[in-house]
């Protein structure tokens, strides 16, 4: 978390306290203005692949496989939330989440911190740190208890790991007979240095439109988001390409992730009549950089038998850009062709890292007692040819294009 977000949180808290003081003098308020709630997951993951780590987010430095035989860091977290309702219109919320961070600590960070104004029961605006609503379950992707799986499928939810932005959003709900549709517009920015290895990113002019439509047990989700993203530090490889004239410059400009427009479209649907559920989501991201053009989808379903919910998921991520011919070696003099070939190899190594994989999962959720569930999940992943998939910390002995199995066990709770 950077200085800006500390200031933001402080401002939100101070504003909350000021209004709280003003309101505390009002003798009419009967029920408590503050409500406190929390959620958490305790889990372990085991991977059959010993030469790379499986993890749930690019913000984590290690995971299950190479670094740890049984990794608690992949899914474990705890979140606490304070909501203050100052009046029927005016409320504020702060949510703090502690989970494995880039520096391998569990230092808490501010997930949301915003002030909400409810103009009418169907129209509201928020300002502060708010959700980045890229996917169908973005709003509660960290709340294990609210999700059917151990974790949202990495093939979709891993393609854009950022969960919040600092900005503002507007939400409008429409009722058309028995159909409810909610339109959501969002604008803001996200500066984060929470990546391992000193990497940071700046996303500015993030804006998006989301529509969620509900009809009985069915719901549909459509979102479009775009942003200008820069990644730091710049990759030295691209500066080297620039030494090779117009073609080298064109390659560098094409693949460098500096002030590039990133666009994401997501479609989703779910049907949950109670006894069973099914859901599916499809997402396409264009990064205009070495991250390529990624497409992810999953289909999932489960059946509820009393306190038990067995479920299965099929998920896939592909990328349209995993290689590039690079510099044309035949037109270069021999003393330049050798370093040019090395650069081409370097570029192709970077592009080959774009995740391509397919995972079949089977799991069981057991609601063993009030406000707690226990989940077991087995994932079988086939990596794309030459791709490490979503794995990190790939070691020399790693063989790409293979398969791996994951075993996960978690306890989720809410309070």
């Amino acid at each position: 978390m950077n200085a800006f977000s500390y200031r933001l949180t402080l401002t939100a808290l101070l504003a909350a306290l000021c209004v709280a003081n003003a309101r505390a003098e009002d003798p009419k308020s009967g029920t408590s203005m503050f409500s406190f709630s929390g959620f958490g997951t305790l889990g372990v993951v085991h991977s059959s692949e010993k030469n790379a780590d499986f993890t749930s987010s690019v913000f984590k430095p290690d995971g299950a496989g190479y670094s740890e035989s049984w990794s608690p860091g992949v899914d474990s977290r705890i979140g606490a939330q304070l909501t203050a309702r100052f009046s029927r219109q005016f409320s504020a919320l702060v949510q703090v989440v502690a989970e494995q961070r880039y520096d391998d600590t569990y230092k808490p960070s501010v997930e949301w911190a915003n002030i909400k104004y409810q103009f009418t029961p169907d129209l509201s605006a928020r300002i502060g740190r708010i959700v980045l609503p890229v996917y169908m379950v973005s709003d509660f992707r960290k709340v294990g208890y609210a999700n059917p799986w151990v974790r949202p499928p990495t093939e979709v939810y891993g393609t854009n790991p950022v969960t919040n932005i600092d900005g503002t959003d507007l939400s409008y709900r429409l009722h058309l007979g028995e159909i409810t549709t909610t339109l959501h517009g969002t604008y803001g920015r996200d500066y984060t240095s929470d990546y391992p290895h000193g990497v940071s990113s700046k996303a500015r002019d993030v804006w998006g439109i989301v529509d969620t439509t509900e009809y009985g047990a069915a719901s549909f989700y459509v979102s479009y988001l775009q942003s200008h993203i820069s990644l730091r530090p710049p990759i030295a490889l691209f500066d080297a390409f620039r030494q090779f004239g117009p073609q080298g410059i064109a390659i560098a400009d094409n693949y460098e992730l500096i002030d590039k427009t990133v666009r994401v479209v997501t479609l989703g649907a779910s049907y949950d009549p109670g006894n069973w559920f099914s859901m599916a989501e499809w997402t396409h991201s264009k990064y205009h950089s070495f991250l390529g053009k990624s497409t992810g989808w999953y289909v999932s379903g489960g059946y509820r038998i009393g306190r038990f919910t067995p479920y299965i998921t099929d998920a896939q991520v592909t990328n349209a850009i995993t290689s590039d011919p690079g510099l044309t070696l035949s037109t270069l003099p021999p003393y330049l062709a050798v370093p040019a070939a090395a650069l081409n190899a370097g570029l192709n190594q970077v592009l080959a890292r774009n995740p391509v994989q397919r995972t079949i999962s089977a799991g069981l959720r057991w609601d063993f007692t009030k406000n707690f569930d226990f989940k077991l999940q087995c994932d079988h992943t086939r990596l794309g040819p030459g791709s490490p998939g979503t794995l990190i910390n790939v070691q020399p002995g790693f063989r790409s294009g293979g398969t791996l199995n994951l075993f996960s066990a978690t306890v989720d709770f809410v309070f």
Binding site: W112, V143, Y145, K370
Partner: protein, 132 residues
């Protein structure tokens, strides 16, 4: 013997109905309309008047029966549903009272309120708008 068991099990099972004040202009609602009001998806009755749902305490038999029968939701599923809403700041569950007696008092006192109570407690003060 089997017949006697079947009879006694229906007698034990709470029979829950959704009610409004007898002075309310609402006469009947569909299952979807009632459930949408209780799940926060709908804030008005079909006639345009505001609708305020009143819940019963977590763990109470009448509450479990109400959501099981009309929404096909177990207590765990309902909790998961509200977790999605609460942890995004999109809303809070309806205000809740201890039992059907309290729910009935609430409904009688406020024309905009809709509650659910045990059918045995229905009298001229309240109007049944949805029954199984």
């Amino acid at each position: 013997m089997g017949c006697a068991v079947a009879l006694s099990s229906t007698a034990v099972r709470a029979d829950v109905v959704a009610v409004v004040s007898s002075k309310s202009s609402i006469t009947t609602l569909t299952k979807n309309q009632v459930i949408d009001i209780f799940l926060g998806r709908r804030i008005r009755f079909p006639d345009g008047n505001p609708a305020v749902p009143i819940d019963q305490a977590e763990g109470s038999a009448t509450r479990n029966e109400f959501y099981e029968r009309f929404a096909n939701m177990s207590p765990a599923l309902l909790k998961a549903f509200w977790s999605k809403i609460i942890f995004t700041g999109r809303g809070l569950p309806p205000q809740s009272v201890a039992n059907s007696m309290e729910a009935k008092k609430f409904v009688m006192a406020n024309l905009n309120t809709i509650g659910y109570i045990d059918r045995s407690m229905v009298d001229s003060d309240v109007k049944v708008v949805l029954a199984p």
